[in-house]
């Protein structure tokens, strides 16, 4: 205890000394979702140091890791809110943070100019991501700087022709899978232990067939009858074919995450539908010479599904001690200089259209920049998804139930779910 006190005392003394010589007492505290040592952390730390130099505002960053928003929320009940800026993804900031009614509306940040540039934050971020940064009751609670989406990853060395000419339709892709199967391969990698990942096929098929709005209208349907639509059956039938096609490695749902994506990187299967952060996660296990490449989900029934997107950015609590400087920092970090590092150092995609992504995900970035984004994704149906959709979608992908059984059970269980809500 004494040692702790001594450390605190030393910190206080040095902080006081710093203030006396610096003259300014302006400071902001940032709770970052990155952990120390991550590439993203280095980019943010560099920007913080530059901001301090240019503006004289001291930036205290706490690297909280992915639980930043979760651990931040309880403090909103008190008068001692520990950070002026909290970093999180759009769902955390527009749902969890916004639901506390303690999140500052950041519309004025969107009006401001990006530090040292002509364009406003709104123009730089773009309308699609701004919409995703807005809560259900219309408060803009996040300013994003980085996006991720999903792609079909493969080894460019093994399939050089796909680098320039990826399959455009699901039929082409299926033909490719069949060809690989004929060579004795199990072409599709899949961590079947994660229900969210298992539901992606169904969701993409359905969104292509019935449109984003059509798909997103199903979960809130209190009668559950929406699930009996022929489009849902059509999508579920495609999943059933996938399940029974023999594309997934044996026992793909009997492993522990991330075993299957590691095996995929080791060359045991050919394609894996995963987030754009995948290369960072599996690089240490990749077969020698592995060249990460990705293409977007091919067209289903003539329509290419839009991309699902998660954005990463900042929120500001109403009780922030220095909201003004916190807002300045947000506009500062969107500068091209740092956003290029998001791409080159952190290997992620910037929200900025003028910052190209790393070559392995360049195609996906182009699609994002052209605005092909899942626009109806802002509805919060997390509870329904985990309790009703995911268990049944697992059974469908594992071949335990047929497409028809899936739709009737979805209809029944969705109705029961909504009934339990009263």
């Amino acid at each position: 205890m004494k040692v702790g006190a001594a450390i605190v005392a030393v910190c206080l003394l040095t902080a006081c000394g710093g203030q006396a010589s610096g003259g300014g007492d302006r400071e902001i505290t940032v709770w970052s979702m990155w952990s120390e040592g991550e590439p993203n952390q280095k980019v943010l730390a560099e920007a913080a140091a530059d901001f301090e130099k240019e503006t004289g505002v001291k930036v205290r960053t706490q690297w909280k890791g992915r639980t930043a928003v979760k651990t931040f929320l309880p403090s909103l009940n008190t008068d001692h809110v520990p950070a002026d800026l909290v970093e999180g993804n759009n769902r955390e900031l527009t749902r969890q943070f916004a639901a506390t009614k303690a999140a500052l509306d950041l519309s004025d940040v969107y009006q401001a100019k990006v530090h040292g540039e002509q364009a406003t934050v709104a123009e730089t971020v773009g309308e699609a991501y701004r919409r995703m940064a807005t809560s259900a009751d219309g408060v803009v609670t996040q300013v994003p700087y980085q996006v991720s989406t999903y792609g079909w990853f493969f080894n460019g060395k093994a399939f050089p022709e796909l680098v320039t000419a990826p399959p455009k339709t699901w039929e082409e892709f299926t033909a490719l899978l069949e060809a690989q199967k004929a060579k004795g391969r199990k072409p599709l990698g899949q961590d079947g232990s994660i229900p969210n990942y298992n539901a992606r096929y169904l969701e993409h098929f359905a969104r292509a067939i019935m449109g984003d709005e059509g798909w997103h209208a199903l979960a809130p349907d209190r009668t559950g009858r929406g699930w009996l639509k022929p489009e849902v059956l059509q999508a579920a039938t495609m999943v059933e074919k996938l399940a029974k096609g023999g594309y997934f490695p044996d026992g793909f749902n009997a492993t522990k995450f991330p075993a299957m994506q590691q095996k995929w990187a080791g060359g045991e299967s050919d394609f894996l539908y995963q987030g754009t952060y995948l290369p960072k996660e599996v690089a240490p296990y990749a077969a020698p010479g592995f060249e990460f490449r990705a293409f977007r989900f091919p067209a289903v029934a003539g329509k290419t599904p839009t991309l699902n997107v998660t954005t990463t950015g900042f929120g500001i609590p109403k009780k922030a001690r220095n909201a003004a400087d916190a807002k300045r920092f947000v506009a500062f970090f969107l500068q091209r200089k740092y956003q290029e590092k998001v791409s080159t150092v952190a290997l992620e995609m910037s929200v900025r259209k003028d910052v190209p992504a790393a070559p392995q995900i360049a195609d996906l970035k182009k699609a994002l920049d052209s605005g092909e984004i899942n626009k109806a994704d802002v509805v919060d149906s997390g509870d329904f998804t985990s309790k009703v959709l995911l268990p049944l979608s697992d059974q469908l992908l594992f071949g335990k139930i047929s497409a028809a059984e899936f739709t009737t059970r979805m209809a029944e269980q969705a109705a029961a779910y909504w009934k339990s809500k009263g």
Partner: protein, 281 residues
């Protein structure tokens, strides 16, 4: 126990169950050994040959884990917390358990159940109210605040655990002590408490294990201060999102677990000594 008596007492059930005991022990040893060995391999070896021996011992993993996770500060804080909460818990729980189990009074039953109820209170359910209380007292991001929370949340288990230990002591001990003219406090300190020594040590070990690895409250109530479990959590996250280097991860985990293992081995030999002393054998 001498070997002579052992031989004589072996029945068929005994012989049947023996392999169970040994295979369990072997498996447990295997788990710890595997963890230690994995910390000395390269990541490729861990993933592609998880059961093999390392081609070369990678002691560098430990240096890398130590420096990149900055365990130093966390270790110190966790040592303070574990010692403080272990002793504090026993200091509060042992007297309470004593009067609850050895004294017959109207409220002893209900109060015991009240303590037991605490076992059923899930930590996440009371986190926010505790946060508000600590905030009022200025004890957020303070080891003292976390220490209070640890002691309080350890109490239900400890009181309950020690109640049983006190309850099973023969009543004549207290009567004899009273006849010898020793007061109730003296009886507690000199007669009863020493007899529960093995229970106290077991309790201390169990609490130390729990508090050493505790992350939920630490994560919720600390900000700049770190405990070893928070450091490890942070380290694991970093590893996970930048492509887990399992070997370094295992080295980090060993850094956290080995002190516990040593504590346990040390304490459990003390435990046996304590018992031997207690019964004069």
């Amino acid at each position: 126990m001498t070997t002579r008596t052992v031989r004589r007492s072996r029945g068929p059930l005994f012989l049947l169950a023996m392999p169970l005991a040994w295979s369990l022990a072997v498996f447990d040893l295997f788990v710890v050994g595997w963890m230690a060995l994995s910390s000395l391999k390269t990541t490729r070896e861990v993933v592609h040959d998880p059961w093999g021996l390392p081609a070369q011992l990678q002691w560098g993993n430990y240096a890398e884990a130590w420096t990149s996770a900055a365990f130093g500060e966390g270790v110190l804080n966790s040592l303070l917390l574990v010692t403080g909460s272990g002793l504090g818990t026993i200091l509060l729980a042992a007297p309470a358990a004593y009067v609850l189990s050895r004294f017959r009074w109207r409220l002893s039953g209900p109060v015991t159940v009240l303590f037991a109820m605490g076992l059923g209170i899930p930590g996440p359910a009371i986190m926010i109210p505790i946060y508000l209380g600590l905030d009022r007292m200025g004890l957020i991001d303070s080891l003292t605040g976390l220490l209070i929370v640890y002691i309080a949340t350890n109490l239900p288990f400890s009181v309950f655990f020690l109640t049983a230990f006190f309850a099973s002591l023969p009543r004549e001990l207290e009567e004899a002590a009273a006849l010898d003219g020793s007061g109730p406090y003296h009886t507690y300190w000199r007669v009863m408490l020493p007899l529960t020594r093995s229970g106290l040590i077991a309790l201390f070990i169990l609490q130390a294990i729990g508090d050493w690895g505790e992350t939920f409250f630490a994560l919720s109530f600390l900000r700049e201060q770190k405990t070893i479990s928070l450091t490890l959590l942070n380290f694991v996250q970093t590893m996970q999102y930048t492509g887990a280097r399992w070997s370094v991860l295992f080295a980090g985990i060993c850094i956290v677990v080995i002190p516990l293992l040593l504590l346990y081995l040390w304490m459990s030999s003390r435990l046996i000594e304590g018992i031997a002393a207690g019964y004069g054998k």
